[in-house]
């Protein structure tokens, strides 16, 4: 029997004067990846933020295990992990401290060995003692990803997690996604880069009907 | 006749209702002001202590009252808006603030101009004066907050929260200032206490009524503009625009 864990009905979102999308419906069940697609500015980030509960929809509702997320906020947030376009790491703390603080704030305990192992897995073994400020762009993104890994959440909401990652990093993330879905996890993510997720159960979702950035239609004009 | 609150709380109905009410309040205010000023300047006698300077009272006191009262009304609408998520409440709060700030400013200005001949100085740090000044600061803070927030929803709620926390504080501020002041200054030169001639009182009360009517008319006009802007995608606004 098909039993969705996350289900969304008739979602609409407005930013400023514009309605970005309207009538979005989908379900995600255990082991699935929802891949939100759309050009720049079509509203992918806005949709993901609605799903996290950080912003409220114009219309429609989002249900987690059948309950509306605003009614079960605390249980929902205990099972969810999110990364947005900004990493959410503190520049003045080391990667290790960042992870452990984040865990503490989410009400979890994270021992040092576990944190070190996760950071090592993400290729940050040599940066454990540097403040995040001096890390490279891709390394900072990796720290944020390490935060998602240690959260042990069921639902991952990832907004362009591949930004700034090198090829190794992309491959690593792919294997992490595989692992997560095999263990019954849910993923909602966006990306503009190709991902090889053969074998995973992917549902695509297109956001935005009107093409706001009709680049390809414009004939390039000389400078 | 059953008064259906939800019917009148719908912006569409309210827009029409407000449009019909505004002329009554506006003309009412003009007539009352004319009567009040006539009494104030031509009927009321010269004050035996203050001479003619006291005639400032006919605007000073109504303005001071309105400045404080409008803040209370704003706080009321803010609370309703936060509690029941009624769109109209936030709009009312927004529509009232500029008029409230204006009246508070007028009461400060007229008070200062009255103070110069009476106390020999434009300004003293008297309890009432100081708390009126702080009230003006609160109004300006709320207006500045609204001005700084582009997002309508966020502006509504943030402004409402600030108004409410201000409303809790205003009485405390008033008493603290009063108390502070009496500690430092011996005999306070508080403006109250003059036994007032009856005809003066009448003039003042009529002027206060005029101020009331004016404030209502102004707020209703402003709320109509706000409603139009916010409901511009609805059919009824489109119909109005087509006219």
């Amino acid at each position: 029997m098909y039993e969705p864990i996350l289900s969304v009905t008739d979602l609409a979102c407005a930013r400023g004067e514009r309605t970005l999308f309207r009538g979005i419906n989908f379900q995600v069940q255990a082991g699935e990846i929802l891949l939100v697609q759309g050009g720049n500015g079509q509203g992918k980030t806005s949709l993901l933020r609605l799903l996290t509960g950080l912003s409220t929809p114009l219309e429609g509702e989002i249900r987690w295990r059948g309950e509306r997320i605003q009614d079960c906020r605390e249980r929902y947030h205990a099972e969810m992990a999110y990364i947005g376009h900004v990493n959410g790491i503190k520049d003045d703390l080391t990667p290790m401290e960042n992870l452990r603080m984040a865990a503490g704030l989410a009400g979890r305990r994270l021992d040092e060995a576990r944190a070190e192992q996760t950071l090592g897995r993400l290729g940050l073994a040599l940066c454990l003692d540097l403040p995040a400020r001096v890390l490279s762009f891709g390394q900072r993104r990796r720290v944020a990803l390490a935060g998602v890994l240690t959260a042990g959440a069921l639902l991952w909401i990832l907004d362009e997690p591949l930004t700034g990652l090198d090829v190794h990093g992309v491959a690593l993330l792919e294997s992490l996604l595989h692992e997560h879905t095999e263990q019954g996890g849910l993923v909602v993510m966006t990306t503009h880069q190709p991902l090889s997720l053969a074998g995973a159960c992917i549902r695509p979702l297109r956001v935005g009907d009107t093409d706001v950035t009709p680049t390809s239609e414009l004939t390039p004009q000389g400078q | 006749m059953a008064f259906n609150l939800y019917y009148y709380a719908a912006p569409a109905t309210f827009y029409g209702l407000a449009g019909r009410l505004i002329p009554w309040f506006a003309w009412g205010s003009a007539v009352l002001a004319a009567i009040g000023l006539y009494i104030g300047f031509f009927v009321a006698p010269t004050d035996f202590q203050q001479g003619e300077a006291y005639r400032v009272i006919f605007i000073h006191v109504p303005a001071a009252w309105m400045g404080m009262f409008i803040y209370l009304v704003m706080a009321f609408w803010s609370a309703i808006g936060l509690a029941f998520k009624t769109r109209l409440s936030f709009m009312m709060a927004r529509a009232l603030a500029p008029t409230g700030a204006m009246f508070t400013f007028i009461s400060l200005w007229t008070g200062a101009l009255w103070g110069k001949p009476m106390w020999g100085t434009w300004w003293v740090w008297d309890a009432r004066l100081t708390s009126t000044l702080i009230l003006l600061f609160l109004y300006i803070g709320i207006l500045a907050l609204w001005a700084a927030i582009d997002d309508r929803n966020r502006g509504d709620k943030a402004g409402a929260l600030l108004t409410l926390i201000g409303a809790v504080n205003v009485p405390i501020i008033y008493f603290s200032v009063q108390w502070w002041n009496t500690l430092h200054q011996g005999a306070s030169i508080k403006p109250s206490g003059t036994s007032m001639d009856e005809i003066m009182l009448a003039g003042m009360l009529i002027m206060a009524a005029a101020a009331w009517f004016y404030a209502i008319a102004a707020a209703l006009t402003r709320v109509r503009t706000i409603i139009l802007e916010r409901e511009r995608h609805t059919d009824w606004v489109k119909r109005i625009l087509e006219q």
């Binding site: 503490g104 | 600061f137 700084a148 966020r154 943030a158």
Partner: protein, 222 residues
């Protein structure tokens, strides 16, 4: 529940320890503001004694406002505020924790510096004691009310100054009770009445402001 608040506090203390520069700057700002007055006004000890408590209190207000403008802003910019809001714990504990951490970091040190400044203003020992006590009760008020302002102005253009505009009027009771407690001591009448009013105001702020700040924060991050 309580553990969450404690974690928030620990985190902010750690961050402050990492950015010791900012922390010392704020204390230093307090000292400088207070010390500028004898320079601007002249050195007559009688006048200095009269204005001393007021100047120290106003400087404390300004120093706290200065640091408050960054209370949530830094976390907002680097995305960690969102992460904290996504924590399963209630947001009101977050705002409470942030305000308390702010007090520990920026409020407590003021108390330690104040006696020295009191001496600069030729205040007698007893008045200095009351000044410190009034700040001990008063500075948490500044942090608590300020956290509401910081949440309301989060991410707005010119946030720091706007914060001042919104919050300074609300600080007035604390300023008046605090400064007049010291004045009463100087005048020989007791300071207890003022101090207990200040304490009552503190209790009220403690009960109300974390909730308002939490609501404001959710609205601002939207």
């Amino acid at each position: 529940m309580l553990r969450f608040t404690l974690t928030v506090i620990r985190r902010d203390l750690l961050l402050a320890a990492r950015r010791r520069g900012d922390w010392i700057t704020s204390q230093f700002f307090f000292v400088m503001v207070v010390s500028m007055f004898p320079l601007g006004i002249g050195a007559d000890p009688n006048i200095l004694r009269m204005i001393g408590p007021g100047v120290v209190w106003v400087a404390a207000l300004l120093a706290s406002l200065l640091s408050l403008s960054r209370l949530f802003a830094d976390d907002h910019r680097d995305g960690s505020l969102e992460q904290m809001l996504l924590s399963p714990e209630p947001t009101v504990l977050l705002t409470l924790g942030k305000a308390l951490a702010h007090w520990l970091i920026y409020g407590i040190p003021l108390l330690i510096i104040t006696p020295v400044l009191g001496i600069q203003f030729a205040l007698p020992g007893e008045a200095i004691l009351i000044l410190v006590v009034s700040l001990l009760i008063g500075t948490p008020i500044l942090s608590l009310l300020g956290s509401v302002g910081a949440a309301l102005t989060l991410g707005l253009r010119g946030g720091g100054v706007l914060l001042t505009l919104l919050i300074l009027p609300l600080y007035v009771p604390a300023l008046i009770f605090g400064a007049s407690a010291v004045d009463a001591t100087l005048a020989g009448t007791g300071a207890e009445a003022h101090l207990s009013l200040l304490a009552a105001f503190l209790v009220m702020c403690l009960l109300i402001s974390p909730w308002v700040a939490a609501a404001a924060l959710r609205v601002s991050v939207e």
